[in-house]
C-alpha cells in the first residue's frame, strides 16, 4: 500500500510528539507520560489508576503512546472484567501503545489480585497484569447475536458471499493506517 506520510501533532495532557504516517485519516496520535496522571512509580504507591487513566486518555484522543519511566510501578489494585473470575490491573485499548524505557517493571502487588475465595464457585482465578483485547471473555465474538449464512461454495478464497445478498449492507469496509510502531498495522474501524 502506498503510504502518504503526514505529521500530526496533538497536544492533550502532555507533551511529546509522535509522528504518525497514515494512508487514511483514521486517528491522531499523542504521547502521554504517565507522570501527568499522578503516577509515582516508586515501588510503593499504587500506580494502577494513573497508568490506566493515561491509557484511556490516549484512546480518547484517537490513539497514541503512553510512556513509562524506568522504575518500578506498583499495581496494587485491580479492576473486574466481564468474566466473574477474571480481573486485571491495566487494559490497553485500541490504537494505544504502552512504551517503556530501559528497565521499568510493572509489578503486580499483593493487593493487585482478587482472591479465589472471594468468588463463589470459581475453580480458578485469573489476575492479569496487562490486558489487551476484549477483556478476556474469549467468546464475545460468538455473542454478537446475529449470524449470517454464507454460500458455502463461495468460501475458500479472498471473498465470501452471503446467502442473502442484502445482508452485505450490515458490513463496512475497514481502513488502514500505519503509525510509528514495529510493524504495519491495519486499522479496524469501529462502527
Amino acid at each position: 500500500m502506498k503510504r502518504v506520510p503526514r505529521v500530526i501533532l496533538v497536544r492533550l495532557v502532555s507533551f511529546s510528539i509522535v509522528v504518525c504516517f497514515h494512508a487514511a485519516s483514521v486517528f491522531a496520535a499523542i504521547t502521554i507520560g504517565v507522570a501527568s496522571y499522578g503516577e509515582k512509580c516508586n515501588g510503593v504507591t499504587d500506580d494502577r489508576s494513573a497508568i490506566q487513566n493515561a491509557l484511556n486518555a490516549a484512546y480518547a484522543a484517537g490513539g497514541g503512546t503512553v510512556t513509562l519511566p524506568g522504575s518500578t510501578c506498583l499495581l496494587n489494585s485491580f479492576a473486574p472484567s466481564s468474566h466473574p473470575w477474571i480481573f486485571y490491573n491495566r487494559h490497553i485499548p485500541s490504537n494505544v501503545t504502552l512504551q517503556g524505557t530501559a528497565g521499568p517493571k510493572r509489578l503486580q502487588g499483593p493487593n493487585g489480585r482478587q482472591l479465589i475465595g472471594n468468588i463463589p464457585g470459581a475453580s480458578y482465578i485469573e489476575n492479569t497484569v496487562v490486558a489487551g483485547g476484549n477483556d478476556f471473555a474469549s467468546i464475545h465474538y460468538r455473542n454478537v447475536g446475529v449470524f449470517y449464512s454464507l454460500n458455502a461454495s463461495t468460501v475458500g478464497g479472498p471473498s465470501v458471499t452471503l446467502s442473502a445478498a442484502a445482508q452485505a449492507a450490515n458490513f463496512a469496509v475497514a481502513t488502514t493506517s500505519r503509525c510509528t510502531s514495529t510493524r504495519m498495522m491495519t486499522y479496524y474501524r469501529p462502527r
Binding site: N134, F136, L162, A168, P190
Partner: protein, 332 residues
C-alpha cells in the same frame, strides 16, 4: 466466520472486510479463507474488536503477565513477561492469547519467576497470522493450536524445563513455519506419562490440509533416559523437517514420522542408543527421507515399521553410521 456456532472452541477464521457488494452479497476479505467450512456463517464482530495495540520494552511481573483476547493487530517487543508462580491460590499463571489476528512477538522473554516453571500456550482459539521472532522461553512446555493458522516461529531460544509429561514444543495449525530456532532441555527429559516428545507438530482437528515446516533449527542438549522419548515427532500430513540438528543422549528416537507425505531431509541426527529415524504411518504411508546424516550407538538407524502404500517411501542419500543395523524393514 464459523463452521458452527455452538460448543467451546470452534473452527473459525477472522478477517477484515475490504470490499462490500450489496447487490451480489459478496464481501472481499483482507485475509483469504484458508479452511474448508461446510456450513459457514458470518458474524460482524466489529463492535467487540480491539485493534492496534502494542506493548514495548517493559518488564511485566505478576500472576498472569499478559492476556490478549479478541484483538486485531497486536505487537509486543523487547518485554519480559514473568509469571510469578509463587502466588498460587488458584491463580492462572500462563499468558492468555486467544483469538488474536495478526500479531507479532519479537525479542521478548517469557518465563516464570519465584517458583516452578509452567506450560505456556502461545496462541489459541483461531489465532492467525502471527510471528514469534527472537524470543526467549524458559518454560516446561510451549505450544499453540486450536485452529491456529499462518504462524511463523523464527530464531527463538527455547529452554525447556521438562516435568516428564507432555510435548516440549507443540506446533499445531495450518501453514506453520518453525525455522532457525534452538531448543534445549534443561535437565533430563524422562518421559513418564506424557508422549515424551521434544518437538512435535500436532495437526489441528478438522483441518484438511495442515502443513508444517520445521527447518534449520538446532535442537540441542536433549537428554533422555527412556525409549519412548522422541526428539522430533511429525504427526501432520505433509510435514517437512529439513536442515535441523538433533543432538540427544540416552535412548531417544531422533525423528518419528507418524503421518503421510512427510519430508525428512538434510537433517543431522546424533543420538545415543535410540533409533535415528522411525517411519510408522499405519494409515497413509509415504514419506521422503533423504540427505540425512545419522549417527548413534543403538540398534537401528532407519526403522520402517509400516508398509508403504501408493507412492511408497523414498529413502536415499542418507549417511548412517554407528548403528548395529543401518536400516531395518519390519512392518507391523
Amino acid at each position: 466466520m464459523y463452521e458452527y456456532t455452538n460448543d467451546d472452541v470452534l473452527p473459525a477464521q477472522m478477517s477484515q472486510v475490504t470490499g462490500v457488494n450489496v447487490a451480489s452479497g459478496q464481501l472481499t476479505l483482507a485475509d483469504p479463507v484458508i479452511r474448508a467450512f461446510a456450513t459457514p456463517s458470518l458474524a460482524n464482530v466489529t463492535s467487540f474488536a480491539t485493534h492496534d495495540v502494542a506493548i514495548n520494552n517493559v518488564i511485566v511481573q505478576g500472576a498472569t503477565p499478559l492476556a490478549v483476547t479478541e484483538a486485531f493487530n497486536f505487537s509486543a517487543s523487547n518485554n519480559q513477561f514473568l509469571s510469578d508462580t509463587s502466588i498460587g491460590g488458584g491463580n492462572f499463571a500462563q499468558l492468555e492469547l486467544n483469538t488474536v489476528e495478526h500479531f507479532t512477538f519479537a525479542g521478548n522473554t517469557i518465563a516464570a519467576i519465584n517458583g516452578p516453571h509452567i506450560q505456556q500456550e502461545l496462541c489459541q482459539r483461531d489465532s492467525q497470522n502471527g510471528i514469534w521472532a527472537g524470543n526467549t522461553f524458559e518454560d516446561t512446555t510451549v505450544g499453540f493450536g486450536e485452529y491456529a493458522a499462518n504462524i511463523t516461529m523464527t530464531n527463538n531460544h527455547i529452554y525447556l524445563h521438562p516435568d516428564g509429561t507432555g510435548i516440549g514444543v507443540s506446533l499445531s495449525g495450518m501453514n506453520v513455519l518453525f525455522n532457525g530456532n534452538d531448543v534445549h532441555t534443561v535437565g533430563n527429559q524422562t518421559g513418564g506419562s506424557g508422549w515424551g516428545v521434544l518437538v512435535a507438530d500436532v495437526s489441528a482437528p478438522s483441518t484438511t490440509t495442515p502443513t508444517l515446516a520445521i527447518s534449520e533449527s538446532p535442537i540441542i542438549r536433549f537428554n533422555a533416559s527412556l525409549m519412548e522419548i522422541i526428539a522430533l515427532l511429525l504427526t501432520g500430513h505433509g510435514a517437512v523437517a529439513s536442515g535441523n540438528t538433533i543432538t540427544a543422549t540416552g535412548s531417544a528416537t531422533g525423528v518419528y514420522v507418524a503421518d503421510a507425505f512427510a519430508n525428512v531431509t538434510n537433517n543431522t541426527i546424533q543420538i545415543g542408543a535410540g533409533t535415528g529415524i522411525m517411519l510408522y504411518t499405519p494409515l497413509f504411508d509415504a514419506a521422503t527421507v533423504t540427505g540425512n546424516t545419522l549417527s548413534g550407538t543403538g540398534s537401528f538407524g532407519n526403522y520402517i515399521g509400516s508398509l508403504p502404500a501408493a507412492g511408497g517411501y523414498q529413502m536415499y542419500g542418507n549417511i548412517i553410521t554407528g548403528f548395529a543395523t543401518p536400516m531395518v524393514i519390519d512392518p507391523h
